[in-house]
Symmetry: C2
Subunit: 414 residues, 2 copies
């Protein structure tokens, strides 16, 4: 069977999940959580094979860590499935309805997408998260999780398939094309009329490739060159922990701070204090000419630093003359993920929120709050940095579309 | 200036429209409607040049008709702008809002996309419609309307630019890349980070090219191989006018009927009556083996007929054994635009609406009702046949995205 044929099989299986009741879909999730615990040995054995292969191929330590499963991690996978189980049904909601003047009843209802594609990097937790989210929202799923996790993903998907079967749903509604290597990814990207939406998750390079090569609709999840602007009226006492939290709490993720802009009127007071705190956390600071003297141990920033997503304990710092200059810098270098202004001036706050064209625009908070969990969505599908369909943190609703139902009594158009 | 540079100019101008008040945006539309009337001579002169060129190049009569403007058509363009003027502001609405447990205020507000691209075929009315819709929704616009309408579109866009200028908005927020020929279209399709959404309108071939070549987010507007299924319990008296209206009222558009499926139990009674009516309207009928004998003058259908969008006075007819067989035929051949069941059985109606995976699924009405105007949206951007962002007839809201505003008091994430 080719990768395309496998995608066709998943598409044909989609109706089975789409038409299942919420009780059946939840029963599948309950079975999935329980089987993950019961069959953890199978998964760990497969995972050991992937790790062995990875080590033999010189896989970096960080990637090994992301790939590695143990009993505790499998338990947290099962727990994540149980959390998704608790969410309300995203399907069937009537979004709008009305009666037209000619008597026709019109309603727009929430329906599953059909077949969702996901291309991601070797992270087995994504496999279970997205499978549970897809089943909850009545969707079929075709996955390409990277050949480095092939054995692990196959073991996990076998368990998903059995959970579907346990409720008489078609196990082929969740499949992986990992065994076809890159051909599998290409098949998903080109499957017009089969894959209803494709969501890439991973490095900027992976996302760019998927966006550029795909002929199916894509939701772009993006990298974050995230900014904070410390305005002249900022509460500098509060600004220090907000900047430190934004940069240091989890530097490897997309909502962490990469560039700090500081109003010239407060730079001399603020930056030395901040510098001491950043040094405590071993943050490497890349400074513009004006901030360099104020931040002991910093290095000179290059033009490239302003558009770099470090994803590590590094930070760019620039002193700007005004809110206008800050807005201009952000317009030029931001990836339109998250920006925050620290200010006590409501007019500046309002202008910043109106003019910054990013998915999430904050006033006086840490940028780390751009997150589906923090926003109260429960599980997160990713953070969209484009404007089509979904923008910002994405929850279950993003995996749904709508359909128009028109009910009449023989009306014709005049 | 290259096409890409022109797109960058439009992107830079986008903030001018995005931040304008609704009063200013409406004033631009008022000025546009009035200038179209006052400066109709300019437009007609340009249009005559395009027509002259088209005739010299052997342009088909139908295309000439679509391209041709006269005083009456310009008046209707101005009227369309005035209708859009009356719509409520689609921008600024708070979609959701809540206070998080940590005191952060979270709200999701409706914002313009930014820069919208449109690639379409030589129809000058689309130029004014989309320009008015874009300005109303606070968006900038880059158009590629086909070289056959280049002079006309340039004259129209000069008027749009002057209307923007009259309210001190940047006239470059509406531009056309027509003068760059195909390079202009390619520049739009590849303008990642500049064009926020691209909407193709036109033939199936044009849409396929745009979907496949684009590296920016696309809303696919689609062709319609539209079906009606006459069930065994249908009210056959009412079925005849519904089928005739669906096929005959305006055969050249995407919501007109292309394939009629008829339950075997009513075929003998229904098809001869229908046939007489279809003959009155000179409809060419392509029949399956079972219907051929029941419809005098019909021709035998080929396999290709089932997936053909005739867009003319032609119709395919097939007798099926059951609702299941009808659903199977539709799943195989439909372009997922609009399908309608004619039935008196509520269970069959419910099953049809649940299982048919199309943008609009009807019971007992003409398929011609799939239309933004009929749905009460006012102006129509097109009909989406994909499931991302918008599905079915698209109104002004489709030209908006959302942004998350987060307001706090120094909160950090723990």
């Amino acid at each position: 069977m080719s990768a395309l044929e496998l995608i066709q099989v998943a598409k044909s299986a989609a109706a089975s999940v789409a038409l299942a009741s919420i009780n059946t879909r939840n029963a599948v999730l309950r079975e999935l959580a329980s089987s993950l615990r019961l069959r953890s040995n199978e998964v760990l054995k497969a995972n050991a094979l992937d790790l062995q292969m990875g080590i033999a191929n010189g896989m970096a330590q960080g990637l090994q860590d992301r790939l590695r499963l143990d009993e505790a991690r499998i338990e947290s996978l099962a727990k994540a499935v149980e959390e998704i189980l608790e969410f309300p049904d995203p399907i069937g909601e009537t979004v709008t309805s009305k009666t037209l003047p000619n008597g026709i009843q019109l309603s727009q209802v929430r329906v599953p997408f059909g077949l969702i594609g996901m291309i991601y990097e070797a992270r087995p937790n994504v496999t279970i998260d997205i499978a549970a989210l897809a089943i909850k929202s009545g969707n079929a799923l075709v996955l390409r999780g990277g050949s480095a996790a092939e054995q692990t993903n196959e073991a996990l998907i076998a368990i998903v398939g059995d959970a579907l079967k346990s409720q008489s749903l078609d196990p082929n509604s969740v499949v992986t094309v990992d065994r076809f290597g890159r051909d599998g990814a290409v098949a998903i990207m080109h499957a017009r009329g089969l894959v209803d939406v494709l969501i890439p998750r991973g490095s900027a390079g992976l996302i760019k490739t998927v966006v550029e090569e795909s002929k199916v609709p894509v939701i772009e999840t993006g990298d974050g060159v995230v900014h904070i602007f410390v305005d002249s009226t900022a509460d500098l006492q509060k600004a220090v922990p907000v900047v430190i939290n934004s940069k240091v709490q989890r530097p490897s993720v997309c909502n962490s701070l990469e560039t700090l802009l500081v109003h010239k009127d407060v730079a001399e007071e603020f930056l030395p204090v901040l510098s001491a705190e950043l040094n405590k956390s071993n943050v490497i600071v890349h400074c513009c000419e004006r901030s360099l003297l104020l931040m002991p141990g910093a290095v000179a920033a290059t033009e490239q630093d302003w558009s770099t997503e470090y994803l590590s304990l590094e930070l760019s710092v620039r002193v700007v003359d005004s809110l206008d200059a800050a807005l201009e810098h952000i317009a030029k270098y931001s990836t339109r993920h998250t920006e925050s202004i620290l200010t006590r001036d409501t007019a500046s706050a309002a202008r910043f929120q109106a003019e910054v064209d990013s998915a999430v625009v904050m006033v006086n908070t840490s940028t780390r709050f751009t997150d589906g969990g923090e926003f109260g969505f429960g599980a997160e599908v990713g953070v969209s940095t484009q404007k089509l369909h979904a923008r910002g943190p994405m929850g279950l609703t993003v995996l749904t579309s709508t359909k128009w139902l028109v009910n009449g009594d023989g009306q014709v158009r005049s």
